[in-house]
């Protein structure tokens, strides 16, 4: 009986793990803290939305990069600009359907003019956009466009190999 219970518990805990992906709803100060930190982690920040076709098109490349560099000091954060009212109805089902377990934040800070330039002063505000930075290395790269996996990997590589 105990043996069966063990397997049931294991199954339940694993089942729970594979379906859960709750999105953190944040204000800009959460990202600002990373932008100002002196960490030697390389951050890859991708601004996207479920309804943005080029954003969705480039996501697999980001997921591939994320698994490729697992164990290295690199962190991918997918920052969704979806409407906050759509978190449970659109965003989380989207992530579940795509089986995406990467870190996803929903940035709910509608006074865009107050923070766009802090991400990058050249950003015209369109999606998708990707910021790669490592404050310890004093290095940053910004792209306001859809990236192929090759373009993303070529952007990220110099941050990894320099370690």
């Amino acid at each position: 009986m105990l043996k069966h219970l063990f397997w049931i518990m294991l199954f339940l805990s694993l089942a729970g793990k594979s379906t859960a992906q709750t999105v953190q709803v944040v204000k800009f100060d959460a990202l600002d803290a990373l932008l100002k930190s002196s960490s030697d982690t390389t951050y890859v920040i991708n601004f996207w939305a479920t309804w943005c076709k080029p954003c969705v098109h480039e996501l697999p490349g980001f997921c591939k990069m994320d698994s490729m560099y697992k164990g290295q000091k690199i962190k991918l954060i997918l920052i969704s600009m979806d409407f906050v009212k759509d978190v449970h109805s659109h965003l989380e089902p989207f992530l579940k359907q795509k089986k995406m377990m990467n870190t996803v934040w929903l940035l709910n800070d509608p006074d865009y003019n107050a923070w766009i330039d802090k991400v990058d002063p050249s950003w015209g505000g369109s999606l998708p956009a990707t910021l790669v930075f490592n404050n310890k290395m004093k290095k940053r790269t910004f792209h306001e466009e859809e990236l192929t996996f090759e373009e993303l990997n070529n952007t990220v590589k110099p941050y990894i190999t320099a370690h």
Binding site: N113, A114, G124, G125
Partner: protein
């Protein structure tokens, strides 16, 4: 034989670089395009009623115009449709009518076709012209970076001078939570004979669907 090969490679590389530069220079960025003080070029674009429209022949544009690059498909544009309509109702009889321009290539985004523009205008009872920038030349010249993207123009003689570039307000989600109405403030200042105090803002929006090079 070796010398010729090296020269050929150099020539090809140089030409490729030149071409890349030309293409890159042609692509509008956030730093190119109009800013406050620039003279805005006029246009002659097809309206949803089948007629051609320009700033010069717009009978309501007696003091200026509120040019808004916007479209059908973009959720940010959709969130602002009622507010864009309200801006036109408020300012068209004060000499500053709204002129909406769709900058997107319908081949990339079918929702932004001319027929769909006509349908949306009907469904949402648009009171303003909704023009199709079919060559995307106007969007490129103005420096539109996203939808929606606003250019408030003031008529000075026969010129239309840019006085404000940027967002409509500071909250796309909730009109009732808006604290800064950038376009209204700019137009109100112009009507009062003042200079625009905040003449540039940014917002998040959908990227322009530029035609792909052949």
């Amino acid at each position: 034989m070796k010398m010729n090969f090296k020269k050929t490679v150099a020539a090809v590389t140089a030409s490729a670089c030149l071409m890349l530069l030309m293409v890159a220079a042609d692509m509008p960025t956030a730093t190119t395009g109009y800013k406050a003080g620039d003279k805005a070029r006029d246009f002659n674009l097809k309206n949803i009623d089948g007629t051609m429209m320009s700033l010069a022949t717009n009978k309501l544009a007696t003091k200026g115009a509120i040019v808004i690059f916007t479209c059908n498909h973009c959720p940010f544009s959709i969130a602002y449709e009622d507010r864009i309509n309200a801006l036109n109702k408020k300012y068209q009889l004060q000499g500053y009518p709204v002129v909406a321009i769709n900058p997107n290539d319908p081949a990339i985004e079918a929702d932004d076709s001319y027929a769909n523009m006509q349908q949306r205008a009907k469904d949402k009872a648009f009171t303003f012209p909704y023009l199709l920038d079919n060559t995307q030349e106007i969007a490129r010249t103005y420096g539109a970076a996203r939808t929606p993207h606003v250019y408030v123009l003031k008529k000075e003689g026969s010129d239309f001078v840019v006085k404000y570039v940027g967002a409509i307000d500071d909250n796309k989600d909730a009109p009732e939570a808006v604290t800064k109405k950038y376009v209204e403030s700019a137009v109100n200042e112009l009507i009062a004979g003042k200079e625009v105090s905040q003449n540039f803002t940014k917002a998040i929006g959908c990227g322009i669907k530029w035609k792909k090079a052949n």
